[in-house]
Subunit: 231 residues, 2 copies
Amino acid sequence: MIDSQYWSHVFKLDPDKPISDEALEAICESGTDAVIIGGTYGITYEKVIDLLGRIRRYALPCVLEVSNQDAIVPGFDHYFVPLVLNATNPEWILKPHQRAIKAFGTMIPWEDVSVVGYCVLNPASAVSELTQSETNLSLDDVVAYGRLAAHMLKLPYFYLEYSGTVGEASFVQAVYQQLKKETDLHLFYGGGISNRTQAETMLNGADTVVVGNVIYEDLRQALQTVPEGKR
Amino acid sequence: MIDSQYWSHVFKLDPDKPISDEALEAICESGTDAVIIGGTYGITYEKVIDLLGRIRRYALPCVLEVSNQDAIVPGFDHYFVPLVLNATNPEWILKPHQRAIKAFGTMIPWEDVSVVGYCVLNPASAVSELTQSETNLSLDDVVAYGRLAAHMLKLPYFYLEYSGTVGEASFVQAVYQQLKKETDLHLFYGGGISNRTQAETMLNGADTVVVGNVIYEDLRQALQTVPEGKR
């Protein structure tokens, strides 16, 4: 099991992007609460198992964000299964989940699996393109997706996914305030965080901020996004 | 709250179909465990509230199957919200739920609402046509939808919907046996039950059988579908 309720910062590593041993060590010893392995394109079993093996030298929890049933590697501490709530491509709403369950049958350790309700908000992102997400959403729309996640589907997590761009802080905070008031959702924010100030700002609109791309662009800045108390 | 775990038989009344006071009395005093109000086309607020008012003279629980956000009438004992798991029309997977939640906001009494995972299996039915359900499913496919309902979405109910036709008993029973073994789902069977033998047979493949159309075609036969111990 994972203690995700205490996570305020996680790094997301993309198995499709190369990372040096030194950079990986810096990430894993940065004080971050966990590492999530995930990405949209080019995710293979080999790339995932290789990255997992390298991260396993360190003590921190490692979660696989399952994006492709051919790349589900055993041995993670937990598995996040994305459900893109605002997808409009029916092949990417419930279909991949049914297919994966059919393929793996009774072998799935359900206690290690959590479904994460995604609301994808950057129309230019790979995930939006793939799932044909309806990203032109008002505050009421996003809050309604959060309520759907919490009250109808009993999902534990809700993920505002701005992948590649930074969301408007006041909007993200308004979603957070509304949903924390009336649900037990744990809220993730992900997208575009590339320095410490942005991480601090977005943490006002999320329980956990997810930091990804900047790892590959500016490692020093990436490490600065870990809250000071944790380092 | 409703004690649906004890229900083995319910009648489903379609607000779009006229029913005499005598017939309604016979249905409500038949010994059935509950009445569900629901249908696919022609459901309006006026028709639902009229039918609810007439059923409220009797003591049995009355549940609204919500098919249309303009026809959500307060005052039911419970609300079943269908989620058609094998729909391929994205307008009918999660979209109507998000829209209704957006429209009603914080007014929804969530403790009175349950989401029912539907697997629609008759390609010629109105619900299949509307939702463009993928009905050509193997046993493994249907079981996978049940596992998706139970383990990923934490739904309490799974509904095999043959609407208008009778399912193959051995298939329905196989789904039931598999899902009862490994989930806490309460299983509904609905579709084509028009006499006592069929009701008894399908009860081997369901916790609750739902009897609908025959009410309007042959009331005497419909009443015979209520298990003898209940009458």
